[in-house]
């Protein structure tokens, strides 16, 4: 039986030294590997090799930069000894120097299978992963992209040019993009070509079109006024630590615009830059029936009520005293979407995708709409969802966006079993929607 080495291969970053942790395994010894399937990973550190030493290429992600390894050919894995140390040494980003010849294991081939003749075939494909911590207190190097990140991303480290796909996600996008292991692995298993996926969660701000547009347009002066207001409010009186953390995370979120983000990426051939996003995936679920508007400063907040409730009474008091509730009609959402798409496209070409709503009402037993006040879309959730779905259909016809038909997929699989609360899916439904997203990305020639 032939043993085929699995080498990590070279990483070039002129002016920098690359270190790594011990190797951690994602599969067991004896696993039948598939081409492109990540089987192991380690943390890496990219440090300047000469002064000044503070010019790090991943300033917000230096603690959580990882590389996963995927064989190029199928075979049965035999792990090498002494590449994993266990414990903390498998977490330290620069415990070992990066050596291209490091062999983390071998593939064995079944009788009749032939190892590929090329030496480069034994070089593992590098999948890079990076997380930007919401706070540097949120250490969590216990796994692939483990930790509290306000942005996480991954990319294949080979090829010259790749596209960036941004998921501005609610929970319903988490399973589609980050998948079962929370590390984009299913997406990259399906996409061998160069590609860069970015996920921005809804931990603080729920990313509706209006808040995204405001983030996109926010000026430094407007941000300074918001910061001043937050600092004055939350530095006064006796404050709960949770409130201060919430206020800090909120200010950080308001300071960012996911649609303007640029990214550093490490490739086999060296450091590159990427972004802003070539495609953006939004969730119609983010478009609630109302938003909050700051009475004096005029900016919009869209928050989960449970987050406010969990983070101390001061947050709620601040909202009560400074914000007004603004109803958002279906027409308002349409205007917000159009304004967002137009504003971004005025600067660059971007494809927008929107997951629509599951419009089936699992719990309703409505026999006749005559029993309910009109307009029905202002009262009944199922009617509002149907109206929103029709609205995005109109926008799709105008070329503003492409619909990812969650409604159809939920009907096909059964909403009660696979989307029981309307947002959180089963793996099967997430797999289906991931396939649909990829199909649409190809159809729109993003990938």
């Amino acid at each position: 039986m032939t043993a085929f080495p699995l080498r990590v291969g070279p990483l070039h970053a002129p002016g920098y030294t690359i270190g790594r942790s011990g190797v951690r395994w994602l599969v067991d010894d004896g696993h039948r590997c598939k081409p492109g399937e990540p089987i192991a990973y380690c943390n890496i550190g990219v440090r300047p090799s000469s002064p000044p030493y503070d010019r790090v290429p991943f300033p917000d992600e230096s603690h959580d930069l990882q590389i996963a390894f995927a064989p190029r050919v199928s075979g049965t894995l035999r792990k090498a000894d002494l590449v994993s140390y266990g414990g903390f040494l498998d977490q330290l980003t620069s415990h070992q120097t990066w050596l291209p010849e490091l062999t983390i294991g071998h593939l064995e081939f079944a009788p009749g299978e032939r190892p590929p003749p090329s030496r480069t075939a034994s070089e593992l494909r590098p999948l890079f992963l990076a997380g930007r911590r919401t706070t540097n207190l949120a250490e969590g190097q216990i796994g692939l992209l483990a930790g509290w990140f306000d942005r996480s991303r991954a990319w294949w480290g080979e090829g010259d040019r790749f596209r960036t796909i941004l998921s501005v996600g609610l929970c319903e996008q988490l399973g589609i993009f980050r998948g079962e292991r929370n590390a984009f692995l299913e997406l990259f298993a399906a996409l061998p070509g160069p590609i860069h996926f970015v996920f921005v969660p809804d931990d603080v701000i729920v990313p509706c079109a209006r808040t995204l547009l405001e983030q996109f347009r926010r000026t430094p002066a407007e941000l300074a006024a918001i910061a001043d207001d937050l600092v004055r409010t939350f530095s006064a009186g006796s404050r709960d630590g949770r409130e201060l953390l919430f206020a800090g995370a909120l200010l950080a979120a308001l300071s960012q615009s996911p649609l303007r983000d640029r990214y550093n990426v490490l490739m086999r051939a060296g450091l590159r830059t990427a972004g802003p996003a070539d495609a953006v995936v939004l969730s119609l679920t983010a478009e609630g029936a109302d938003v909050l508007r700051h009475r004096r400063l005029g900016y919009t907040l869209n928050l989960w009520e449970f987050r406010v409730a969990e983070n101390g009474p001061g947050v709620r008091t601040w909202l009560d005293e400074n914000f007004e509730k603004v109803p958002v009609s279906c027409d308002d959402v349409r205007r917000d979407y159009a304004a967002l798409v137009d504003a971004v496209r005025a600067e660059r070409e971007v494809e927008f995708f929107v997951l629509n709503r599951m419009s089936s009402a699992i719990e309703d037993d409505v026999h006749g709409y005559a029993l309910f006040e009109r307009p029905l879309g202002d009262l009944l959730a199922s009617v509002r969802k149907k109206e929103l779905n029709l609205m995005v259909h109109d926008l799709a016809r105008e070329g503003k966006l492409t619909i990812v038909d969650l409604d159809r997929a939920a009907a096909k699989f059964g909403g009660a079993a696979h989307l029981p609360d309307g947002i959180h899916q089963t793996r099967a439904l997430a797999d289906e929607l991931r396939g649909e997203v990829l199909r649409l990305l190809r159809k729109r020639q993003v990938i």
Binding site: L292, F306, E363, L371, F372, L380, A381, S382, D421
Partner: protein
């Protein structure tokens, strides 16, 4: 015929609901479409959930009749199967009927 309206199981994961609004009083006449109650269901009440799905519902009358009794007030939390109110329908042949529908998310803030 009277109807004892109990809290239905609206979701397999649901255990309780919170009464958000009560629109009728004991002895009040109701007609088809009369609002009876609004309630919210927080699925994290049954199992801890980082992202609790909170849904709101309205129960309305489908028949003419009378409110015989009201067993809940806004803010009350009730378990599945608990009585919410009792209705007496005008029909002597079948119990009074109600309907329930999901309504738009209604956070009680600011």
């Amino acid at each position: 015929m009277p109807l004892s309206l109990t809290l239905p199981r609206l979701n397999a994961y649901m255990t309780t609901a919170v009464i958000r609004a009560v629109y009728v009083r004991e002895g009040e006449r109701v007609t088809p479409g009369a609002k009876l109650l609004d309630l919210s269901v927080d699925l994290s009440a049954s199992a801890p959930h980082d992202c609790p799905a909170i849904s709101y519902y309205r129960i309305a009358s489908r028949d003419r009749g009378w409110v015989r009794s009201v067993a809940v007030a806004p803010g009350d939390e009730r378990a599945v199967g608990d009585e919410l109110l009792a209705l007496a329908g005008d029909s002597s042949e079948r119990p009074a009927r109600t309907t329930i529908a999901g309504i738009l998310y209604q956070p009680d803030w600011p």
